[in-house]
Symmetry: C2
């Protein structure tokens, strides 16, 4: 698999976050000759928050993590494997989660209620958890603060590049560091697009305000990206604050802005690694009667196969955007709608704009970054959604190879 | 464009429906060397009903037709052009509709309030209605009861075959005939998937009961098909009853069943001509807490790019169906879910079924007709939706050619 043309130039230098260490190992869950399991250990007092897929068929590790949020304040652990998602695996799936959590607890002395797991990869196959359990001592022995990049590689499935992002914000003269890793949304049949994100900070903050901040920011980042409209059974985003900086960030907007920047960066990297993606597309919707209506329009546009194939074909086919607005279910009025590609006006006043230039728009579509700006002209509602184009390579990845 | 591999063997012999005549002509709206406009004339007393796209950006002809339903009982006319959809054409679009309706009225003596039009093709371009108006005398002179097949060809855009269906039902010893034509859902950029359907019967029935029957049957046929989840600005389905059989079908279930058969046949033909389609897929959902929930699951499955590419790849990838159920928003329980391919059980009791055979399922997926049967195990709600697979040819049709 060649690296996505939309990949960042390099993996960022991630800072050491005091209070968290990492290790990666080769457990052979499915892949050979690569790391496929990572263990992060968190100092006592760390605050652990998370948001998860809302799928009605979510995986055993997701269900387990959800019960553990906000419980206890001792040391904590996060173990993630790739190659098998432990989803739709019935009671055996729960057994595998318990076996791994108990083994981590036994090796480290951490309360099993503070051990979080995630699995990503093939669905409906029993997870060979013994292979993971057999590596826990090795993972414990190899812990280091500097191996977060190795962890990013261990959680990849068919990602074409590892994903990391970092920000440092100075609060009261002291630096507070944030660093995160993500995987998604590559796929090999029969895997499905899954997304895992782990973010660490040395900020000090209690569970509820951090959980609230995470949920708020997720709605402006990861919940507003889409590659193919399909929702994973395993999507997980966890944020851990070790408190080792000594800086209390409760209600601190500079911290929230920095965390937002990390989450936005990682979420965009997930889109940039969308299957077959050749264009990174930003859809800005303004002028809706509500933010919810704006999001309906943005998501309908981002998920439209006709819009996505037009972008792949570098075709400024604004009729398809009109179609997507119309089908979205949002309140819309043909005569107040304005559609732009970047700054180029396509449609206005219920009609193709007089200044429309096919040549200029076609030239714009040849770029790698495409902005679609839709103003509904009805109110103050806004939404921004990020997506990629729909190409032959998407079909090749998802149809041409048998599982 | 080669004919879809899913096309019927031949266009059916459509019967003469007394009280309606047809003609087709070459107006050169966009296409050259083919018919692109059809005019149907209906006898006085004909009942005209219709259902239309719910898009918020629907076309000028759709908006015009909607105001005319249920008005008057004199002679009537339906004029349809292909090559230009007269959608997102502002006030000029309304002017074009009026110009055509007035010209038909002037030539035929029909009340303009009983002249219905439809346009299908490129969006956002002014409709050169003068070319259509110039053909109205020719269309009037060429009217014949036997040229419904010609009308079916004139309304095609990038359809790979013309679509027709017919049923005759005997009521009180007298035959009542139903015959219909449809176009959809081929596309040339920048056209979008559009669907037009015209059904004629010599049954006798008043506006409201026929309109109610049409709406009821549409929810079991055309509203349950999907090729790519994109909703046209022009979708129109009109049903005209000339009453010339003298048989009153008000409340007659045999007539409703026959009309259902015609609508189901035409709706399936639209799917069979879906862009790039190589498989015809029936998704049956049972056991939902409501019919609405069942439809959510069926539509989420039918519109999932991952399910559709798995079908294209002949991959019995049931994990993707589990994913689609999970994301649908319907109430679902992993442990009561049963998924089958035809009669082959894939998943049951929250786990891959013990009798699952990869070989048998892979063999099933090689067929041209695929049935996906999902039982949610929760209630009595059911829904059936029809779709096709998502192939390289879909991308080729919609991305590879510039408008």
């Amino acid at each position: 698999m060649t690296v996505s043309p939309l990949a960042p130039a390099a993996f960022p230098d991630l800072p050491v976050i005091d209070g968290v260490t990492f290790a990666a190992a080769q457990a052979g869950v499915k892949y050979k000759n690569r790391t496929d399991v990572m263990l992060a250990l968190l100092a006592p007092g760390s605050t652990i928050t998370g948001v998860f897929t809302r799928s009605a068929t979510r995986s055993a590790p997701v269900l387990d993590c959800q019960t553990k949020l906000g419980v206890g304040d001792g040391a904590a652990a996060i173990l993630v494997n790739s190659g098998n998602s432990n989803a739709f695996t019935g009671k055996a799936g729960t057994g595998s989660v318990d076996a791994i959590c108990n083994a981590v607890a036994a090796a480290t002395g951490i309360d099993p209620a503070r051990v979080f797991t995630a699995s990503t990869g093939v669905i409906g196959e029993p997870l060979p958890h013994d292979r993971i359990v057999a590596k826990i001592e090795e993972l414990k022995a190899a812990q280091a603060a500097t191996t977060m990049a190795d962890a990013a590689r261990a959680i990849m499935t068919t990602d074409t590049f590892p994903k990391g992002a970092t920000q440092t914000v100075t609060i009261g003269g002291k630096p507070v560091k944030i660093a995160g890793i993500a995987k998604g949304s590559g796929m090999i049949a029969p895997d499905m697009a899954t997304m895992l994100v782990y973010i660490f900070t040395d900020a000090k903050i209690a569970f509820q305000p951090l959980q609230d901040m995470l949920a708020r920011l997720t709605n402006r980042t990861f919940n507003n990206i889409t590659v193919d409209s399909d929702t994973s059974t395993s999507d997980s985003l966890m944020l851990a604050a070790t408190g080792t900086s000594g800086v209390d960030v409760t209600g601190n907007t500079a911290f929230e802005d920095a965390l937002h920047a990390v989450m936005l960066d990682l979420s965009h990297q997930v889109v940039r690694d969308g299957e077959g993606a050749t264009k990174f597309v930003t859809i800005n919707v303004t002028g809706a009667v509500s933010d919810a209506d704006a999001r309906l329009v943005a998501m309908a546009t981002a998920n439209s196969p006709l819009v996505k194939t037009a972008i792949a074909g570098e075709d400024p086919n604004w009729g398809r955007i009109v179609m997507a607005v119309g089908k979205s279910g949002a309140q819309a009025d043909r005569d107040t709608l304005t559609i732009k590609l970047g700054d180029l006006v396509l449609a206005r006043d219920g009609w193709r704009a007089p200044e429309y230039s096919e040549d200029k728009c076609a030239a714009y579509m040849k770029g790698q970054e495409i902005d679609i700006n839709v103003d509904l002209g009805l109110g103050d509602g806004t939404s921004t959604v990020w997506t990629c184009d729909l190409t032959h390579q998407y079909i090749t990845i998802n149809a041409d190879y048998r599982s």
